[in-house]
């Protein structure tokens, strides 16, 4: 039995230490928002946060997580930048098929948490690990910038945007 703290709740998981978090989330806990795309940390579809940092859950053994907090797409709205990113994503109409977008949003919100006003170079470096086969890159760049502005507004005016 391993205890994992996922989206603020403790989950008891009966699984081997070396099992990657991705399959625990999807197959054992039914949190299917986190996606499988490659299994070798090349596509980013499986991105979750570990203490706020974006990590690839497909290669992350649950035995190594310890007490660090896991956030998935289902819970990202509660993080400092998650809601802004989701809102900006809708406003910019980033999404096409949507399959990669959980991972994109997780990477983008982790970026904005550490780097509230990322430059183009910072966006490229943080997002290059997330493949989008539908080719939404142009809009991802734009959406991250507007999310940064949204987050800044939120910082001054409080939470004004609820309709995600």
């Amino acid at each position: 039995m391993i205890d994992l703290q996922i989206n603020g709740e403790i989950k008891h998981v009966d699984a081997p230490d070396r099992m990657p978090l991705l399959w625990v989330l999807r197959d054992l806990l039914g949190l299917t928002g986190t996606k499988f795309g490659c299994g070798i940390a090349q596509c980013g579809a499986c991105t979750v946060h570990l203490n706020g940092n974006a990590v690839r859950s497909c290669v992350l053994p649950i035995g190594s997580i310890g007490t660090r907090a896991i956030t998935t797409i289902e819970g990202v709205r509660a993080t400092p930048s998650g809601a802004s990113v989701q809102q900006a994503w809708l406003a910019a109409e980033v999404v096409q098929c949507g399959y990669c977008q959980s991972g994109q949003i997780m990477s983008a919100s982790a970026l904005l948490t550490t780097t509230p006003h990322p430059t183009d170079a910072e966006i490229d470096a943080a997002m290059a690990g997330n493949i989008c086969r539908c080719g939404t890159y142009v809009r991802i760049r734009a959406a991250i910038k507007s999310a940064a502005q949204l987050a800044a507004m939120r910082g001054t005016d409080g939470d004004r945007t609820d309709n995600v």
Partner: protein, 451 residues
């Protein structure tokens, strides 16, 4: 930089001076020390060494059937790595060894009577293992490390043979070795063996304890560490004056494993080395890949803890030799922000490739956010300013060892250009290593060809 070309380059002097120099050099080579000469002391026949027999299998297997003992020893001697081709059946041979003067292929060790060793008698087997003489008197090239295996006891050699004879016979005629003149003259190898193969079985050193002697036997007669880690002279024999100080092998760098602090294993704890042998990974020092990765997978991981510790004890006794171009690995972790740490003008293409294909596993700090085996901080290869092994591992990837990893390092060679691989290798050394490498696309093209 000439990488690994290994080509013979003679300076051109006046003829007389040349012959004199050649003769002196020849003498220097011929009179070179044996592999265990460094330790001095008195060697005694096995029977008279008081602290036990350093040969054979570990205590736990001492009562095991011959075949099982043979399997342990065959693994310890790592026959499989060389005698298995890419995607081939284990031990069926056909692995290519690309040398500057042609290509050698390993032979089939399964007991098939036509194409394997099915017709070898015990005497035949010992002759090939100890002296490099195959059936019909055919002389073997020293790619077959018989100058090391020659230290193996007859009993151990025959146990290995017994094990090999239990394998499924595979009819597999490997490609024919094809070397240029004069290297195709196999009889010349007789002369080579006369000079360089002591043709002696292992004798314990009376001044050393049982663990050291066991380690010496395992490292020299079995694992043949020196075949990769000791530099060679012009006649392709091991130069034990610089024993274990590292060299190039099959397009990879086999690093310095002497106790030198900066360039060798001086900074590694005993446990680090033993872990590295058995699991292919030592925290803070790196993960085995390439030929060493194979050695772990096919050989070291099967050793008992005691045997691994014995090898460590032996390695610790070797004189420290510094490798001039290898700095002491940087252990400071790089900044976790991509924008800090490395000047923007250092390999922007390398940074772009790193961001896409590498950062997810290795992190921007060099400490892997997902699995310890992927940490780059402190790793020897990353602190090698030639970046040869970094480039190689990018090209061909690395398998996990002992099945403890959640993913392997994928091979990127097929989808990334020479320029991209050179750039990302340079970026990696700049960001995480002690010194920045200057690998070029041409270097990478050569590395691809040499593996």
């Amino acid at each position: 930089m000439t990488l690994l070309s290994g080509r013979l380059r003679f300076p051109f002097y006046a003829a007389g001076a040349v012959s004199a120099a050649v003769f002196i050099y020849f003498l220097w080579i011929v009179l070179g020390p044996g592999p265990m000469h460094f330790v001095g002391g008195k060697r005694v026949p096995i029977g008279t060494y008081g602290a036990g027999d350093p040969t054979g299998v570990p205590e736990v297997l001492s009562r095991a059937p011959l075949i099982e003992r043979g399997r342990y020893l065959a693994r310890a001697a790592d026959c499989e790595a060389c005698h298995t081709s890419k995607d081939g059946v284990p031990y069926s041979g056909g692995r290519a060894f690309v040398l500057p003067f042609g290509t050698l292929y390993s032979t089939n060790l399964t007991p098939d009577p036509e194409t394997g060793i099915g017709r070898y008698t015990n005497t035949d087997f010992l002759k090939v293992l100890h002296r490099g003489i195959g059936l019909g008197g055919k002389r073997l090239y020293p790619a077959m490390p018989y100058a090391s295996y020659t230290y193996m006891s007859d009993a151990d050699a025959l146990a290995i043979k017994a094990y090999l004879f239990t394998l499924q016979p595979i009819r597999m005629e490997g490609p024919q070795t094809n070397l240029k003149f004069p290297f195709n003259q196999r009889w010349l190898m007789g002369i080579w063996a006369f000079i360089f193969n002591p043709d002696k079985r292992f004798e314990p050193n009376a001044q050393r304890d049982a663990q050291w002697n066991r380690g010496a036997y395992l490292a020299e007669a079995m694992a043949h560490c020196g075949e990769c880690h000791t530099p060679r002279n012009l006649l392709q024999a091991l130069n034990n004056r610089a024993k274990f100080s590292g060299t190039a092998q099959a397009g990879w760098r086999a690093y310095n494993i002497t106790p030198d602090r900066a360039s060798g294993l001086g900074d590694w704890s005993d446990a680090d080395i033993a872990n590295y042998l058995i699991t292919g990974h030592a925290d803070g020092h790196g993960t085995a890949a390439g030929p060493m990765g194979e050695a772990v997978d096919d050989s070291f991981k099967y050793l008992t803890q005691a045997d691994a510790a014995a090898i460590v004890a032996y390695l610790r006794s070797v004189p420290a030799v510094a490798t001039r171009d290898l700095p002491r690995p940087k252990t400071r972790v790089a900044p976790s922000s991509a924008e800090e740490g490395v000047a923007g003008n250092v390999s922007p293409l390398g940074k772009a490739v790193y961001a896409g294909a590498c950062a997810s596993c290795h992190g921007w700090s060099g400490v892997s956010p997902v699995m310890a085996v992927a940490t780059l901080t402190g790793v020897r290869a990353v602190n090698d300013p030639t970046a040869i092994n970094v480039a190689q591992v990018i090209i061909s990837g690395a398998l996990g060892h002992n099945g403890v990893d959640t993913a392997n390092m994928p091979a990127f060679g097929d989808a990334y250009s020479d320029e991209e691989i050179a750039s990302v290798a340079n970026y990696v050394t700049a960001r995480f290593g002690a010194r920045t490498s200057a690998l070029t696309a041409e270097n990478v093209a050569k590395l691809r060809a040499s593996d």
